[in-house]
């Protein structure tokens, strides 16, 4: 997609979501929409490291929670604004990404993935034993009154998450089309050959870890205000990892559009199933769709489209 078309589309999406927020649409749309938009950010962030570089990160909830708990601490300590919570959450989660990257430099494949799961448990244990943020029982939060021009807090959070989603897709697209993207693809195919072809594999891996972690942290920062509550068991839930990993796999990991398509599809189906059937069943839905795609379309929806185009030529 040409750059001007991409940025025009971003602008249209942002204006449309702003118009939606100011319209009289049912409040539930924003409640459900926030979750789907959050998954767009998480899936896009996951794909920068997992899809482009081939490093499968199972530690999504850890990064999300760093963002969320940073927001809680800042809000409780100094009543920080939402924008400050998001920026600081992103910075700290980015630093965690850098740290995880540095500590797991020599780990590849399944070993890297296991190390990222360990990060989730370590941080969860720390939070469980930290009374200031509510420990294991959690913490009730009262939303501040500042709504800018929005009729409700949920609508404002929806718009904020839409901005984050557009921002993260823009970053992912930039990475994909830049030197960095070419280097990450080379690194995914063969780290040794990439290094011998002049690719500074360590540096670009760390950049990918940091950017991916920071975006996940930013997606997590508005969460406490969205729920008006935070507690560790649901914040550190590994189902975030499954969704953030499943969505790019369903959409296609090679392109920035893949996580977007996957998150819209899977996130949308999850919301519909949650409302119409049951909340438990939506976890099953993720599993079934994931298995179907891995077996029938390992390169995701984008891969299927490419195959259809090639066969019609």
């Amino acid at each position: 997609m040409q750059s001007w078309k991409f940025f025009a589309s971003c602008l249209v999406v942002l204006l449309a979501s702003l118009a939606l927020c100011l319209s009289g649409v049912n409040e539930y749309v924003f409640y459900a929409g926030f979750v789907i938009l959050q998954f767009i950010v998480l899936a896009t962030a996951w794909n920068i490291l997992g899809g482009y570089a081939g490093y499968v990160n199972f530690g999504v909830p850890a990064f999300l929670a760093v963002g969320a708990y940073t927001a809680v601490v800042l809000f409780k300590f100094m009543g920080a604004s939402l924008s400050m919570q998001i920026v600081c959450g992103g910075i700290l989660a980015g630093l965690l990404g850098l740290g995880v990257g540095l500590l797991t430099l020599k780990l590849r494949g399944i070993f890297f993935s296991i190390a990222t799961v360990a990060v989730v448990f370590i941080l969860e244990t720390c939070v469980m034993n930290w009374p200031y943020v509510g420990g294991a029982t959690g913490l009730q939060l009262t939303r501040p009154s500042g709504l800018l021009l929005f009729p409700s807090y949920n609508r404002m959070l929806f718009f904020v998450m839409a901005v984050l989603a557009v921002g993260s897709i823009t970053i992912a697209r930039y990475i994909q089309t830049s030197f960095l993207g070419r280097g990450l693809r080379a690194l995914r195919d063969s780290e040794e050959a990439a290094e011998c072809s002049g690719v500074p594999t360590l540096k670009i891996k760390l950049i990918a870890c940091t950017v991916s972690g920071a975006l996940m942290g930013m997606a997590g920062a508005p969460m406490p205000m969205y729920m008006s509550y935070i507690e560790p068991t649901s914040t550190f839930n590994l189902s975030y990892s499954i969704s953030a990993l499943g969505m790019p796999i369903i959409g296609g990991t090679a392109h920035w559009l893949g996580p977007l398509i996957g998150a819209l599809l899977l996130g949308g189906v999850q919301q519909v199933v949650s409302v119409t059937i049951s909340n438990e069943l939506n976890v099953l839905v993720v599993g079934v769709i994931l298995v179907l795609f891995v077996v029938l379309a390992p390169e995701g929806i984008l891969g299927l489209i490419k195959k259809c185009k090639n066969s019609s030529k």
Partner: protein, 238 residues
């Protein structure tokens, strides 16, 4: 002959196993050096140490007089050390042309139209021009070997290390790869060739170094190396 590469007392241990033991070697500018030795003698470990894929336990490596021992492989690539791999390692999600654009992007600093043209020129030289837009995981074995050499060429190397680029190829294909290596050498590129096909090594090399159990047992012109009793013992036993 002006010195390009100088290896000083390289030792590489894997736990208690010594893969390279005090190996010293110099390679001159424009030289064609053959590196032979039985399986497990340390040939690939030596070139891994030269290219920077492995750090030696002891010893130093100089390239154009500069100590590169502590430098990573990507910095050595920028200095002009390129290599191919014994088992081809293509960037399989990319086309052949894109494979070459990786070194252009990171070594030359650009992958624009000019670099694209240069990459196509290299592919033409290697006889791979019609495969430029083909996905690299769809290449035949000989095409993969040629692509590896082409990708190494995109690094704009002063030293090219070819690690068994002819392994598993048929007679005519061996000749094709050999012609390519001669052609590259005629452009002034120094070449270290690791090979088991003795006919090819004998024809190609100006000098042959034979490794056995991590030590250099012979370093001379091809005619003398093949007659050396230690070399014969290493290959054929007592």
């Amino acid at each position: 002959m002006q010195e390009l590469l100088k290896i000083e007392g390289i030792t590489k241990n894997f736990g208690g196993f010594t893969a390279l033991d005090q190996v010293s070697l110099t390679v001159g500018v424009g030289e064609r050096l053959g590196l032979i030795g039985p399986n497990g003698s340390g040939k690939t470990t030596l070139i891994n140490c030269i290219s920077g894929s492995m750090q030696p336990t002891k010893g130093r490596i100089f390239f154009e007089g500069q100590d590169v021992s502590a430098k990573n492989a990507h910095i050595r690539a920028k200095l002009g050390i390129a290599r191919s791999f014994q088992i081809p390692k293509p960037f399989s999600s990319m086309t052949v042309l894109e494979n070459l654009l990786v070194p252009f992007a990171f070594v030359s600093g650009s992958d624009g139209p000019d670099e694209r043209r240069q990459a196509l020129e290299i592919l033409n030289r290697m006889g791979l021009l019609e495969k430029a837009e083909v996905q690299s995981n769809q290449l035949s074995q000989v095409e993969l070997r040629k692509m590896e050499l082409a990708r190494a060429m995109a690094v704009k190397p002063k030293l090219l290390i070819s690690d068994e680029a002819m392994a598993g190829l048929a007679g005519a294909e061996v000749q094709e790869v050999l012609d390519i290596l001669f052609d590259l050498n005629s452009m002034g590129i120094t070449i270290i060739m690791i090979e088991h096909i003795m006919q090819a090594v004998m024809r190609f090399s100006e000098r042959i170094v034979c490794l056995d159990t991590g030590c250099i047992i012979c370093d001379d012109i091809p005619e003398i190396v093949v007659k050396n009793p230690d070399v014969q013992r290493a290959y054929l036993g007592n």
